[in-house]
């Protein structure tokens, strides 16, 4: 429920309720005052009559009593419906209606009034509207004693005019109260709206704007009351939040910059590490002298390619190469010259093979080549081309070799047809190389042929 509705419900509602209660209390008070006034007037009237008429009744001066009743009834014909004096047998001694003289009244009120020790009041509604019936004992007694009851004084007063006047007063007063209620309610609502609802609504708008991110939003509320203090407190809080936010922003920017720097350094370090790893990997898998992959790399590569060959049913071939009489050359020209021969053979292998093929230094003067997707025939052709290239390539001091030229022998083996595992494939190639060596060198031998 909004503050405005609460103000409407509680503030104005309470004002209306208060006015209604006030009006109710007023009506009740007026009713009681009217009743008491009517009752008191009737009581006083009958008391006066009783003081005058008790001696007359006690003296049994009936004619005198009759004259008094008749005279008074005529004087007060407006509101006095009837006046009567009855004896203890309820027989009429005097009555506004002379025809009733001597008649025993048998109505309930007369019966009750005749035995009542005190004044009896009854309200009722008759043919002429509301009335008040009063009965008063005519008694001679000292205080505390019953004394002698001579009879009962009865009177009935018309309340029509009085009731009408009373209700006219109530209606006019109720209208006035209603008008006052509306004025008071409107005044209260206006005051509460101006002094409470509107400031709270403004503060709410500022708070919502602040919540949306405008940390510069500030309340314009002022004053020394709670609302003003609330506005000042909000501004103080907003100021603190804004300052704190700025501080946080600075800290975040600073931390972000530091983080970026650290990240850059970390990236550089990672790159360096990757490069080092790569170099390390090269060192681990590359032969330092020839620049070709070493035996370790060859084994891993061949394992992977043999599995793929079996999976794809695509043949790969392995060339096992050995430099002929390399020991002789080494012994004759020294190891550095031998190393140069090995590097020159390596260059020939690199230059004559496809990018997807892998030349490796197998160890010593032995080299291997893995030819991917290459059948045996094609592998033999490639091997022969390599052998021929080496043979034709001028190499320093090769004339000192047997046959006057530096040559190579090559063993060829192919997967699927010759072997189905790495070990078997290498073994087949190696056996073919052996066969090439055994049968005269400078030649290519394919396993199984």
């Amino acid at each position: 429920m909004s503050v405005q509705r609460r103000v409407l419900v509680f503030g104005v509602g309470l004002a209306v309720l208060g006015m209604v209660l006030l009006g109710g209390a007023f009506v009740d008070r007026e009713r009681r005052m009217y009743d008491n006034d009517v009752t008191d007037r009737a009581r006083t009237f009958l008391d006066v009559l009783a003081s005058e008429w008790t001696p007359i009744l006690a003296g049994n001066r009936v004619e005198e009593l009759h004259e008094a009743v008749t005279s008074l009834s005529m004087k007060r014909a407006g509101d006095l419906e009837f006046l009567a004096v009855v004896d203890r047998d309820r027989g009429v001694v005097a009555h506004s209606n002379p025809l009733l003289y001597g008649v025993a009244l048998d109505d309930l009120f007369t019966a009750e009034a005749s035995v009542s020790d005190g004044m009896l009041f009854r309200r009722g509604k008759g043919d002429h509207g509301p009335y008040l019936a009063v009965g008063r004992p005519l008694v001679t007694a000292v205080p505390g004693e019953r004394g002698i009851r001579w009879g009962t004084l009865l009177a009935r007063f018309s309340l029509e005019k009085g009731e009408r006047a009373f209700w006219e007063l109530i209606v006019s007063t109720t209208g006035l109260i209603l008008l006052v209620t509306l004025l008071v309610g409107a005044t209260i609502f206006t005051l509460l709206h101006r002094n409470l609802v509107r400031p709270v609504a403004r503060l709410t708008e500022v708070a919502e704007e602040f919540a949306r991110g405008n940390l510069a939003a500030r309340s314009l509320l002022e004053g020394r009351d709670e609302i003003g203090k609330l506005g000042l407190t909000f501004n103080d809080m907003a100021e603190r939040i804004q300052q704190h936010s700025k501080g946080l922003e600075r800290e975040v920017n600073k931390a972000t910059a530091e983080l970026i720097g650290a990240n850059e350094r970390l990236t550089a370090m990672a790159q360096e590490l990757a490069e080092a790893n790569r170099r390390l990997e090269d060192l681990a898998t590359v032969d330092g002298m020839t620049g070709l992959r070493n035996y370790r790399y060859f084994q891993a590569f061949l394992d992977r390619e043999v599995r793929r060959s079996l999976r794809t049913n695509s043949p790969i071939s392995v060339l096992m190469i050995d430099v002929d009489h390399f020991k002789h050359y080494n012994d004759t020209h020294g190891h550095p010259a031998g190393d140069d021969v090995l590097r020159q053979v390596s260059r020939v292998l690199k230059s004559r093979l496809r990018g997807i093929d892998l030349p490796c230094r197998y160890g010593g003067e032995e080299f291997t080549v893995v030819l991917l997707d290459t059948s045996k025939d094609r592998a033999v052709a490639v091997a022969e081309e390599l052998r021929a290239t080496i043979e034709q390539t001028p190499i320093a001091n090769e004339e000192t070799q047997p046959g006057g030229r530096l040559t190579i022998s090559v063993g060829v083996a192919t997967s699927l047809s010759d072997a189905r595992s790495t070990e078997d494939l290498v073994k087949c190639a190696d056996e073919a190389l052996y066969e090439a060596k055994r049968t005269g060198r400078n030649r290519v031998v394919s396993w199984g042929i």
Binding site: I56, A58, D87, V142, R146, G147, I148, W150
Partner: protein
């Protein structure tokens, strides 16, 4: 509902049940027209009709008039009382209070009706006098004494009577002497000084006549005296009431304690049953216009008489009995 409320409600119900049980059966209210039998004393049960056979009863009171007038006036009352008392009843009229008091004290009378001051004085002489009832006259057990002046008198307040001539009836009269004097004393009048000019005219009619005639400036009387004077042809319209005394108790009905208790109870019951509220009572009092009946009072009802008497005695020693 909590346990404590249940307990409280239970106690209320139990107490209400006990209260109803202690009250016993509901007593029906008095039926209209039934005989209104006044109660007797707290320790005295009134005899029922037919239980009184007193033989002879003498009832004395102060009443002016000739013996024939008295006989005519009181004959119905004698008959009525006689039937209630089972006795031949005689009403004895006295002219003076003193004689009446003496006779009731001496036992010459069974019952006597004493004016208020006479009753107080009689009790001073013999405290064995029993108060049976108080007279109802003019519908009341009290009446007021008046101090009246002529309408054209320059006297505007009681204190103005300080140097005036005031007429009183007699020192044994409540309304004609003691109560007015007490009122004058209370209003600051120098009573001994006043009494140097005062007149004692004997009767109310005479003091009223004296004021009307201008013989005195004021008179002490009462309403009944004014009415009697008016009935006698005195123009009381020329008078105005200057002051009113304290309320004076009506005459007291007394008997002597030496009478048997049953005798006293019968007497009391007979008088309490005699009033104008009943047909028999109206017949009995038809010619005794000074009485409407008798009702129950007690000794303290006459304390005001004693107070007024003592006040006068203090203000003017020797002017009262």
């Amino acid at each position: 509902m909590t346990n404590s409320r249940v307990g409280s409600a239970t106690w209320v119900i139990v107490l209400a049940a006990l209260l109803v049980a202690c009250q016993g059966p509901t007593v029906p209210r008095e039926v209209p027209g039934a005989v209104d039998l006044p109660r007797g004393g707290a320790d005295e049960a009134l005899p029922v009709p037919g239980e009184c056979h007193l033989g002879a009863v003498r009832f004395g009171l102060v009443s002016p008039g000739t013996p024939e007038e008295q006989a005519q006036r009181f004959a119905p009352l004698e008959t009525h009382l006689g039937s209630l008392l089972g006795a031949r009843t005689e009403v004895v009229a006295y002219q003076e209070y003193d004689e009446l008091i003496t006779d009731v004290i001496r036992g010459e009378l069974d019952v006597a009706q004493l004016p208020p001051l006479a009753f107080v004085l009689a009790r001073e002489r013999d405290d064995q006098l029993l108060l049976l009832a108080t007279l109802i006259a003019n519908g009341d057990v009290r009446y007021a004494g008046y101090l009246v002046v002529r309408r054209d008198s320059d006297v505007q307040r009681l204190l103005d009577l300080q140097n005036k001539r005031v007429a009183f009836t007699s020192p044994t009269s409540a309304s004609g002497f003691v109560f007015p004097l007490a009122r004058l004393a209370a209003d600051g009048v120098d009573v001994p000084h006043l009494m140097t000019r005062a007149r004692l005219n004997g009767s109310h009619r005479q003091v009223i006549q004296a004021v009307v005639d201008g013989e005195v400036d004021a008179a002490a009387t009462y309403r009944g005296g004014l009415e009697a004077a008016r009935d006698a042809g005195i123009d009381t319209r020329t008078l105005r009431v200057l002051g009113i005394t304290a309320a004076i108790p009506q005459e007291a009905l007394v008997a002597h304690a030496r009478l048997p208790a049953h005798h006293v109870a019968c007497l009391r019951r007979a008088f309490l049953l005699t009033n104008r509220a009943t047909v028999a009572g109206r017949q009995a009092l038809a010619r005794f216009t000074d009485a409407d009946g008798w009702t129950v009072t007690d000794e303290h009802f006459y304390d005001v008489v004693r107070e007024q008497l003592y006040a006068v005695r203090k203000a003017a020693p020797g002017v009262t009995p």
